[in-house]
Symmetry: C2
Subunit: 487 residues, 2 copies
């Protein structure tokens, strides 16, 4: 598994470099290198020797950690061996081509151009699901790749729990006077943004000796070891892009940095699933980073860093960074409408996989669902069903983990607050150590040891539950928009 | 070989990242990753399958390029298989430890601390040489790893050709009034240095779409494909550090970028040997970059970029950047004394390998040779025999390629001038395309196709010859120091 980890570190570094520093003409060679190393990694995973070693290890494992390691490795080897190498290769090739086609189709607002690729990707995902196997629904086989144990039924229940309340809340907010956030748009000094965001991510506890922050067109977090965690952010006209982008990625980052040193370079190190990971990025971005308490501490420093900001009050700023507005683009969506974007994608993915929704009808169904959930109609497919990178990259079953992250972040925070008491005071004092320490103890230090459902049970005392999220978000935004209290 | 290349690209990127952006605590994991991938690469090279494929290819090769490819690959496989994996591993382990010990020994000026490591490294290099085999001298087996076809006898002849004339020239320069270059030291704006050096390397023809420049404590050039060549430089108190460091690495860079696109990711791509590579870095750093013609073009821009520079004449500047002064540290040495530093190391390496020089006597012998060649005595071993990284990294046989580069740069330039005529006018006009084009045609486009001796024969019409270097350097520095002309 140390060899597996070395291959993964190599391709992860190649990907980081691709998105941060790689010269423009280097893409073809980089793709070839990643493709070769990925193939060699797959060969290593499915080799008889690896299988034999895993079986030996299973017999020898005695401690709880050893057994967890065997479980994680077995799951991975099982997934790898179930899918034939030819399918892995075809999916990789088709996705790589589809990505280029999607980039052009989105630029040209031409869904027809992308349609054949998407049809092929849906078909290849169907084949993959059949190889992986499932009991209830074909979606289960795929979504389990991103969130162990997740099923369509589980996601349905999750979305059923929040759909109507969120649609209703958005509708109530639409009735209220809009919030002005224009003062956050400007020609902000890049160095000042870098310094300010680095200050923030270090303040919440991201260790710059074991990580760094660079810029990327689409921010992400990656890591090559527990002591080498890379954040990225972007400096744009909207000052919030850098600030909340950095806090979001730093949330992923502190989770990665929190794995035990002795697990480094093993499969037990690092966040356990996409949903749990997203819960931590959203915790630090939204629950901490968009709180009034947080900005009571940092607004003065923000004003010093960006003298062009007008003389605004804490309340002005707090409301501006929590402005809700139904919009077309998911990645720019606010905390309230975000899950509605995800629901659209989840329902469409299920339909495409089942065959109840033909790819050719995607634009029409997409737009109808945006009308229904968000009350707006995308004027173009580029602002509609062509906006996301995931499907062109071959990934189906991924989207619901974003909503799980949003929901879980509030559920975990409720427990954290019960233990720590006045978290607002801590944030207002810039005292993040107790918060980080609690999350470290309850979540981060467990790395990938427990399956996500077991981890949630241990942390929250029960399964994923949308209630804390619903009450938390409703209470917050009734405050932001001065709506009558319902919770 | 595409798989070999993918492993090499991965470890090269890991090394680049290590020296440019890697967080401070990430070293241990990075070393583990590189070590594992290097072992997997070695296993791939010596595998029966690779040997079989190489033999098949040898039978099938018909074109000149195919035959060259087979030759290059065979040489590599032969070297890899001759050295037992256990020795590769031990040398790698010992070198890695020795490097850390050396860093501390140099910091503490404590040769005794490093001595056992160096003794072990000399012994392992001896073993390696015996496995590789040689006819005349044990040094031949090792130096051939860095410069194909090189031998101790050949290096002896090269140094014999320049030793006395260079010692004499340095002595004559010591008699002349010293040149004042203090105006080149200051607190120079880093951004201005970055912009100015990037302008220069692009001006000489380095393609930034297929490469980039970053900073590193010890500048180097690496590449992951013909379209991804990475330069590094450093911004220091001495303004010349960045300027000539950048031009030096860009010289390596344009050589790498000059390989044919169709050879990318094959063993034919890239510079053929360390000596030929160094000839190109030295050409652009010294012959072009330290010429009066070059600065007649760029001094005005330099003054604009660094307003703190005093109102100096072209001649002031030209003399300052060509100041000669016997000094202790090789990497800071000027063009005239540089080879004297190399001779010291070469003679000591031969002695240590032969056994005629005991490692324990190294400091004494080192200092004696500095007295003899440079007329100065290092006050400490840190400024003496502990200064270079090479031996601690396990590399013996490498140093003479630096001198070969210096000598060859003048030899090739003589041919270039014969073909292009007034190169001073071209440089003064910032017209580097004809110069780069000539080098591209004669040297760069051949990548690693011809053995270095054959390439030199093709370009220069004869073997390596110190005469153009001796006359060129003597003429130049008699001018710089106003000495009586002897050439």
């Amino acid at each position: 598994m140390a060899e597996v980890n070395a291959f993964e570190a190599a391709t992860a570094l190649m990907d980081w470099d691709h998105q941060t520093y790689m010269p423009q003409a280097a893409g073809e060679a980089r793709a070839a290198h990643v493709s070769i190393l990925s193939r060699l990694l797959h060969e290593l995973l499915v080799s008889d020797e690896t299988q034999r070693l895993a079986q030996e290890a299973a017999k020898e494992a005695t401690s709880e950690d050893e057994k967890a390691l065997v479980r994680v490795v077995s799951r991975r080897l099982e997934k790898s061996t179930k899918i034939p190498a030819s399918l892995v290769e075809e999916k990789s090739r088709v996705s790589s081509e589809a990505h280029e086609i999607w980039v052009r189709a989105r630029a040209d607002n031409d869904f027809a151009k992308f349609r054949p690729s998407l049809e092929r990707i849906v078909e290849l995902n169907r084949q993959e699901a059949e190889h992986l196997g499932y009991t209830d629904h074909i979606y289960d086989a795929l979504t389990d790749l991103y969130e162990e144990g997740a099923t369509k039924k589980g996601w349905d229940a999750m979305f059923d729990g929040i759909r109507q309340p969120m649609v209703d809340l958005v509708a109530r907010i639409k009735e209220a006077p809009a919030i002005d956030n224009r003062f956050l748009f400007g020609d902000w000094d890049v160095d000042a943004q870098r310094r300010f965001t680095e200050m923030l991510v270090e303040a919440i506890g991201f260790d710059m000796k074991r990580g760094r922050q660079d810029t990327a067109p689409h921010p992400f977090c990656t890591n090559f070891s527990v002591n080498d965690v890379r954040l990225t952010t972007r400096y744009q006209e909207f000052l919030g892009s850098a600030i909340f982008g950095s806090l979001h990625e730093a949330g992923h980052g502190v989770y990665e940095q929190g794995s035990p040193q002795e697990w480094d370079r093993t499969p037990l190190s690092g966040g356990v699933s996409l949903g749990v990971h997203e819960s931590q990025s959203r915790t630090w971005e939204n629950i901490v980073g968009r709180s009034k308490a947080f900005w009571s501490r940092y607004l003065p420093e923000l004003k010093r860093s960006f003298p062009a900001l007008p003389g605004l009050s804490l309340d002005d700023f707090y409301r501006a960074v929590n402005r809700v507005e139904p919009s077309f683009i998911r990645v720019e969506a606010d905390e309230v409408t975000y899950n509605l974007h995800i629901m659209v994608r989840f329902e469409i993915e299920c339909g495409m996989l089942e065959g109840s929704l033909a790819v050719k009808d995607l634009p029409e169904v997409w737009n109808e669902k945006y009308r229904q959930y968000l009350g707006i109609t995308p004027p173009t497919d580029s602002l509609g069903c062509l906006q996301d990178v995931h499907w062109s990259g071959g990934m189906i079953g991924y989207f619901p983990t974003y909503s799980m992250g949003n929901i879980l972040s509030y559920q975990i925070w409720e427990k954290l607050q019960a233990d720590l008491g006045d978290t607002d005071r801590l944030m207002a004092d810039g005292e993040f150590a107790p918060i980080l320490g609690w999350l470290q103890d309850k979540v981060y230090r467990h790395g990938s040891k427990y399956p996500p459902s077991e981890l949630i049970q241990r942390v929250c005392g029960g399964p994923l539950d949308p209630k804390p999220y619903l009450s938390g978000i409703t209470r917050k935004y009734e405050g932001v928009y001065g709506l009558a209290s319902t919770v």
